[in-house]
């Protein structure tokens, strides 16, 4: 038992960190960035070359064949850099294509050639051999594919399967958002939860992304508290601020530890994976939302502006909360999950 990263894992993280610092600095969202959306899809072919898109896809399917633990630490970095969550669509979409035996699609997804947006149910929706219901499409405007996922399984749909597509103004303006409907459509590929526990994996990856958000906001608040002076002292010397930063550190650490345990139970095919995956999403979303709020508070008035990056993390934390089952929904699942002691 050891929750620390191995040397190989540290190396993977360092490579990715270096790449994202160069290619996806958080400053990319500052003016004159486009008003809505982002250009992160341009990074997909290069992330594919570096082996990140297929990191947890088995080698025989063209992936790197590492475990969900490596995938988890990768998503933590994605979160830190506010990478477009469309990457979840590409990476989990590749799992669906692999399980469904669609080699051409799998290749397009693993190489970063085909873009996949995310379909998130608004109200009741059915995902299975036949899909229906009302959805939000996230980051899907120029994507030919849409990934939808719930407790029954995961489905890859064509964007053209959706009707009544209507662009709406997003809360998180770094991501595009549309409303759309599905009327009893057979998805291009469908994988049930029994075949591959993609939903549990999604919870761990969304959770890991949220860990990155919680850590980034903690670091931002701490750095600011060290340099911002009032009453002749750095504000971080005041307990009101210091303790807020400490709370942010406690939440980020608890979320990271739970994400580590959840990813390991998943890769071990442990029956507790469902319990720990749900706990992972709950704990890390709570940490991401609270840390993002407190980061704004520590920054004071500048935290309330669009010049500081603080608001981006808050908005993204809400997106990750809503994606494939919000806190209210996950709590209900948590209450009924078989106890993993």
């Amino acid at each position: 038992m050891n929750l620390l990263l191995s040397e190989d894992q540290v190396q993977i993280v360092d490579t990715l960190k270096h790449f994202l610092c160069e290619e996806a600095p958080v400053a990319r969202f500052r003016p004159p960035a486009p008003q809505i959306g982002n250009q992160d899809h341009r990074l997909l072919p290069r992330l594919a070359e570096l082996g990140f898109l297929g990191i947890a896809i088995p080698e025989e399917s063209g992936g790197i064949g590492l475990s969900s633990a490596e995938e988890m630490v990768v998503y933590r970095e994605f979160g830190r850099h506010l990478l477009s969550p469309a990457i979840i669509g590409s990476m989990l979409g590749a799992r669906v294509a692999a399980a469904a035996g669609d080699a051409a699609l799998l290749h397009d997804l693993l190489s970063g050639k085909a873009r996949v947006g995310l379909g998130n149910p608004r109200g009741s929706a059915g995902i299975g051999p036949h899909c229906h219901g009302e959805f939000h499409l996230i980051e899907s405007i120029d994507a030919p594919w849409v990934l939808c996922c719930n407790e029954q399984g995961a489905a890859l749909l064509r964007r053209s399967d959706f009707t009544a597509i209507e662009q709406v103004h997003p809360m998180d303006h770094s991501l595009s958002l549309e409303r759309a409907k599905l009327e009893s459509i057979r998805p291009a590929a469908w994988v049930s939860m029994e075949q591959d526990a993609i939903y549990t994996r999604a919870l761990v990856l969304i959770g890991a992304f949220a860990v990155g958000l919680a850590e980034a906001t903690r670091d931002m608040a701490v750095e600011y508290a060290k340099i911002r002076e009032q009453f002749g002292k750095p504000i971080g010397s005041f307990q009101a601020i210091k303790h807020m930063c400490a709370d942010m550190a406690i939440r980020a650490e608890s979320a990271l530890c739970q994400a580590a345990v959840a990813s390991l139970t998943l890769s071990d095919h442990d029956p507790g994976a469902g319990f720990h995956g749900t706990a992972c999403k709950l704990v890390s979303i709570d940490a991401a939302l609270k840390n993002a709020s407190q980061n704004i508070q520590v920054h004071g008035a500048v935290g309330f502006t669009s010049e500081a990056d603080a608001h981006l993390y808050l908005k993204r934390a809400h997106v990750m909360d809503q994606l494939w089952g919000d806190t209210r929904f996950q709590r209900e699942r948590m209450l009924h999950a078989p106890f993993a002691g």
Binding site: M1, G236, Q239, H243, S254, L264, V283, G341
Partner: protein, 385 residues
């Protein structure tokens, strides 16, 4: 990263489980008084005779000298077997014993270590004073050297189980001129010494519940040979073992609480009835979030062990302590809300109300939640003092 245990570790787990299942006391642990003392000593003695005492103690002092992983497994199995915590032995096993092992003389080791391990002596802690709580370094209880003795005057407070103890690990000021952390000594004090008087202090759980005492020292003579480490080096001696309180033992608590939470879910379902499903009630939402947060708190104990194994343990363990303490406190409060009107009853044979009241100490004892946050802010995050 991995969650797997080696084959040898799994064998050890089986043995620990078997032994605990057939040897752990079944009768209820008394909450107070001499009967509690006898209960705790007897259970410690049984562990000693069974060859399971002192999992973390080095072999040369009679312990099992086990790796951190084995300690973790022992605590997990201890909690799973629902074995009672012998709290009265806590200071001896986790503070006084390890301190004597690390810094004591041969004579001190001979005299005390085996008696602690075999359940013959109870120790208490004499650190806090009426005016030195969070600011422990400003303690004032004085000790003047007189020949081959120290003469102690002053007062200690919040001494848990002081009235049931044989020995005390006592911090005294031996050099009033030195800077505050430099003039302190760590002394072994016989609680039966002439000149010690104890004032019992009732705690908020229920009338007549004496958990700790205030100790008054009136020209108490303690042999100089009872100083552990050097005279005036007591702060360092004390700091050398404070980490023991933050180690693997927390895992035991977290597992206990995880089981408690399962009982709480059952009780809440029973109380709300089939007409009002728990998942639609705010209690259900709180139970669910707590279940998740407790899983995370336990994961944090795994991280602390992982760091310690890699030799990089430090102030980061305060993150875990803060989380563990607060989830436990939340659980106790939630248990009360599940009881509804029955929360007003505090029966002898049920623990929920008693432990709710007791839970207020969790964020005060052994460094308040606020001191923890100062440590996190300054030592983990590098914020200015």
């Amino acid at each position: 990263m991995d969650l797997q245990f080696s084959r040898e570790d799994r064998v050890f787990r089986e043995e620990a489980r078997d032994w605990l299942n057939s040897n752990s006391p079944i009768e209820r642990r008394p909450h107070a008084g001499q009967t509690m003392r006898e209960f705790d000593l007897a259970w410690q003695k049984r562990q000693y005779e069974g060859g399971w005492a002192g999992v973390s103690w080095q072999k040369e002092y009679g312990g099992l000298g086990l790796s951190l992983t084995r300690q973790l497994i022992w605590h997990e199995e201890y909690a799973r077997a629902d074995a009672p915590d012998n709290h009265l032995c806590f200071v001896a096993l986790n503070h006084a014993g390890p301190t004597i092992m690390a810094r004591g003389s041969e004579v001190q080791k001979q005299e005390h270590l085996q008696k602690i391990l075999s359940g013959q002596t109870i120790w208490c802690q004499g650190f806090s004073e009426p005016n030195a709580g969070s600011d422990l370094g400003s303690l004032k209880t004085s000790a003047r050297i007189d020949g081959d003795h120290l003469v102690v005057n002053g007062s200690k407070i919040w001494t848990s189980h002081g009235h049931l103890s044989d020995w005390q690990e006592l911090l005294v000021r031996t050099d009033p001129q030195a800077p505050k952390h430099k003039g302190i000594s760590w002394v072994i004090c016989d609680m039966k010494s002439p000149g010690i008087t104890l004032r019992p202090i009732e705690i908020m759980t229920s009338p007549n519940q004496v958990h700790f005492v205030q100790c008054f020292y009136d020209d108490v003579r303690i042999p100089l040979a009872n100083v552990v480490g050097a005279v005036n080096d007591g702060w360092n001696v004390a700091m050398s073992t404070l980490g023991f309180e933050r180690g693997t033992a927390q895992i035991r608590d977290m597992i206990r609480y995880a089981f408690l939470l399962e009982k709480m879910i059952g009780k809440a379902q029973q109380r709300l009835g089939a007409d009002c499903p728990l998942s639609k009630d705010e209690i259900g939402a709180r139970l669910a979030q707590l279940r998740a947060d407790m899983a995370a708190a336990r994961a944090m104990t795994y991280m602390v062990v992982s760091r310690a194994q890699a030799g990089i343990s430090g102030s980061e363990s305060s993150l875990m302590r803060a989380m563990v303490g607060e989830t436990q406190q939340r659980a106790r409060r939630l248990a009360l809300d599940i009881l509804g009107p029955y929360a007003l009853e505090n029966p002898e044979d049920d623990d929920w109300v008693y432990y709710y009241l007791r839970s207020f100490s969790i964020t005060i004892a052994a460094g308040t939640a606020q001191i923890q946050r100062n440590i996190i802010g300054e030592r983990v995050l590098g914020l200015p003092r």
